[in-house]
Symmetry: C2
Subunit: 220 residues, 2 copies
C-alpha cells in the first residue's frame, strides 16, 4: 500500500509539473491536475493539501535532482575542471528535457505570486562550483589569477544567465550549444595551459564509463 | 497644457513604478497608484486606459533609458573594450538605483502574468555588445580566440545572470562589486595583452569628462 500511495503521489506530481511548466502557477488549477492525472480532485487534496503545497513539492523535486548528478560527476576519474564542465552540460540537458526540473524553474521564477516559501536556488550551486574549483586549484589546473571563492559566483551567474536569456528568447533548444560557447569564453581565463576547445568537445558527451540513464528517465 | 498633461503622465508612471517594483504586478491596483500619486483613479484610466497599459508604459520607459546611456559611452574617447566595461557598470547602477529600470525588470520577469505583450529584452544588448566587441577587434584589443558574434551572447547572459542571482539572494546592493568580479574573470580571456584589474578599476568610475548626471536623476 505504501508503494501504491507513493506511485499516486508521483503521478500527481508529474501531472502538476506538466501543467505548471506549460501554463504557470496562476494558470493551473487543481481540477486541471485532476483531469490530466485521471485522479479525483479529492485525491489531489488528500496527497498535497493545496496548490501551494503541490508547487512546493515540484520545486523540492527539482532540487532533489541535483545531489545524485553531482555525486556521479564527483566520482568520475577526470580532472576537476573537466568534471565541472561536464556537470554543467548534464544540468543544462536536465533544464532542457526534464519536466520536473523545468516546472520547478518556472515556479521559482513566479515565486512572488506563490503564497509559500520556496527553497533558495544558486547557493548550493555556488558552493558546488567553488568546491570543484578548489580541487582544480589543488591539482594545478587553474590559471594563477583565478580565485575560486570569487569566481564560483560569476560562473554560476553566467550559467543561469543563459537560462534566463534562452527562456526569454524562446530558444531553450539552443541551450547546450550556448553553454559550449560560454565555456569557450570562460576556459581561456580559468585554465592553466589552456585547451578550451578540446575540453568542451570531450565534456559535452556522457561521463566515460558512467551509467547512461538520462536525467528524468522514467518520467513521462 | 501639453506640458502639464505630460507631467501628470510622468508622475503616474513613477508612482506605478514604485508600486510595481515593491509589490509586483498582481499586488498593485489602480487605486493604490491613485493613492500614491495623489490623483484620481479616473486620471489614471484617462492617461493609461488600464493596468496592463501602465505596465507596458513602465517597461517601455525602462527600455528608453538605454539609448542615451549607450550614446554617451559610444562618444567617449576610450578603447572600445573599456567603453563596454564602463557601459556595463552604468547599466548595473541603473538596475540598482533607478526605480523605473527596476520596476520594468520586475514586470518583465512577471510577463507571463500580464495580459499584454512586452518588448523583448537582451536582443538589443547582444547587438550593442557585439558592435563594441567588433570595434575592439578592429583596434586589436581582443585576444585572437575571441569571436564577437559568438561571445557577445555569453557576455550578455553572464551580465543578466548577475541580476537574476542577486535579485534571488536579495543582495542587489552587491551588484557593482559582483560585476567587477565578473569582468576580472572575463577580461583575461577577452583582452589581448591583458590588464584586467587596471581596466576594471578605471571603468567603475564615471566617464572622463562626461556629464555626471546619474541615470534616473530627476526621478523621485
Amino acid at each position: 500500500m505504501q508503494g501504491r500511495a507513493e506511485a499516486t503521489r508521483r503521478s500527481l506530481l508529474e501531472a502538476a509539473a506538466h501543467l505548471f511548466n506549460e501554463r504557470g502557477y496562476a494558470g493551473t488549477s487543481i481540477s486541471d491536475i485532476s483531469e490530466l492525472s485521471g485522479r479525483t480532485s479529492g485525491a489531489v487534496y488528500f496527497h498535497y493539501t493545496s496548490k501551494e503545497m503541490l508547487a512546493l513539492a515540484v520545486v523540492e523535486a527539482h532540487f532533489a535532482t541535483w545531489p545524485q548528478l553531482i555525486e556521479r560527476h564527483d566520482s568520475a576519474r577526470l580532472p576537476a575542471l573537466e568534471r565541472l564542465v561536464r556537470l554543467s552540460f548534464a544540468v543544462a540537458r536536465a533544464f532542457r528535457d526534464d519536466i520536473v526540473v523545468r516546472a520547478g524553474a518556472r515556479l521559482w521564477a513566479e515565486r512572488k505570486t506563490i503564497n509559500e516559501t520556496l527553497p533558495t536556488p544558486f547557493v548550493g550551486w555556488i558552493a558546488t562550483v567553488r568546491r570543484l574549483m578548489n580541487q582544480a586549484r589543488s591539482n594545478g589546473e587553474l590559471a594563477p589569477h583565478v580565485d575560486p571563492a570569487r569566481d564560483a559566483h560569476s560562473v554560476v551567474c553566467a550559467f543561469f544567465g543563459l537560462h534566463t536569456v534562452s527562456d526569454a528568447l524562446q530558444d531553450r533548444l539552443g541551450l547546450v550549444d550556448q553553454l559550449a560557447d560560454l565555456w569557450l569564453l570562460l576556459l581561456p581565463s580559468l585554465q592553466a595551459g589552456a585547451d578550451p576547445a578540446g575540453l568542451v568537445a570531450r565534456a559535452r558527451g556522457p561521463l566515460p564509463g558512467a551509467d547512461r540513464t538520462p536525467v528524468g528517465a522514467g518520467r513521462p
